[in-house]
């Protein structure tokens, strides 16, 4: 069966992690994986730039990490389960980190979740939303 990577592009506010993304994000994601040990977390947090320069990441990927710009990391091949090692190193929960990718602050985001989460109506298609 011929893979269809284009089919995901109409989902608004969503980056589907495809096999192609594993090529683009390989070094960024492997950097994140390295933060699974306490020693590396300490070393990274002590001197982030030096630690990042040990990885064959693009400058844009490194800057996104330094800025903790999770959306930009997704755009550059990052996957959220890998990025979780980065925000865990910062002591952030999934809710705290994930909310930064939305237009809400963490209090507003948490309130939305407690009220039942983001309603899917209006969020199925970029075309429907006039974004494509």
């Amino acid at each position: 069966m011929k893979p269809n990577f284009e089919q995901f592009k109409d989902i608004p506010g969503t980056t589907i992690f495809t096999i192609e993304k594993t090529r683009q994000g390989y070094h960024l994601n492997e950097f994140c994986m390295s933060l699974r040990t306490a020693e590396n977390r300490v070393r990274f947090l002590a001197d982030q730039r030096t630690y990042l320069d040990e990885w064959a990441m693009t400058e844009e990927q490194k800057q996104a990490v330094l800025d903790r710009d999770f959306q930009k990391m997704l755009d550059n091949g990052g996957n959220v389960y890998f990025l979780a090692k980065l925000f865990a190193s910062d002591g952030l929960s999934y809710v705290q980190a994930v909310s930064t990718m939305t237009d809400m602050n963490v209090e507003e985001y948490t309130a939305m979740m407690v009220a039942g989460g983001r309603n899917i109506e209006g969020w199925r298609s970029k075309k429907e939303r006039g974004e494509a």
Partner: protein, 282 residues
Amino acid sequence: MARITAGIATSHVPAVGAAIDMGRTEEDYWKPMFAGYEFSKTWMKDNNPDVAIIVYNDHASYFGMDIIPTFAMGIAESFAICDEGYGPRPVPVVQGAPELATHLAASLILDDFDMTVLNVLEVDHGLTVPMSLMFGTPDKWPTKVIPLAVNVVMYPQPSGERCLALGKAIRDAVEQFDEDLNVQVWGTGGMSHQIQGARAGLINLPFDRKFMDDLVNQPEVLQYKPHLEYMIEAGSEGVELIMWLVMRGALGDHVDEVYRFNHVPASNTSVGHLILTPKENA
């Protein structure tokens, strides 16, 4: 002969593990969710399996980008707990079931399910959170475990058809194992959730309830649900629900629904939980 006596489905939200580990289950936020598993913990005490085959996904905790197996089975004596960035969860080491696991992995490969064989595996919240929900906080887990890791993180994930068929093949293989064992199959992950991008926080409870109804009554319909539909309707991470199909396939054509629970939210996620038993098993 070994036999499959029940199937368990449950979400495996990491924050649920953190709430248990930090003693926060009585807090207002968490109490209603944990209350929904009280029945299950009691039921498990009366129906404790010798072995649980736990279908789960690794969340970049053991498998990185180097090797991405579609299906992988842990056949080791034991499985250590991953450090997912916060330090390993303070839960007991998971004991394996190497004799059944080797039989199972070999049977599945011979049946054309090209299982990756894992002689070493560390397990993450995807496997340990369901165990905590079903068993509480024992000093030692009361059952042996065969981890079955499914790639749901990278597209393409295995098809629903493949997952349901794998469950059926697991059932056949378990029944061909000579030792008299009580075996459960657990499907974990889901339900609707999205933890990335501007659409993060998406929950679709009508989808989740319909999925549960279909899983119980007409799983053959679900096998043709495309990945795209999960991603649109249940969020980019909702595609984890294909793992519930493996569990369902292992229970045979007809099941009894022993228990069902839904709760929104746990962290970013719609929590769903089912206990099913095969009808033929009465």
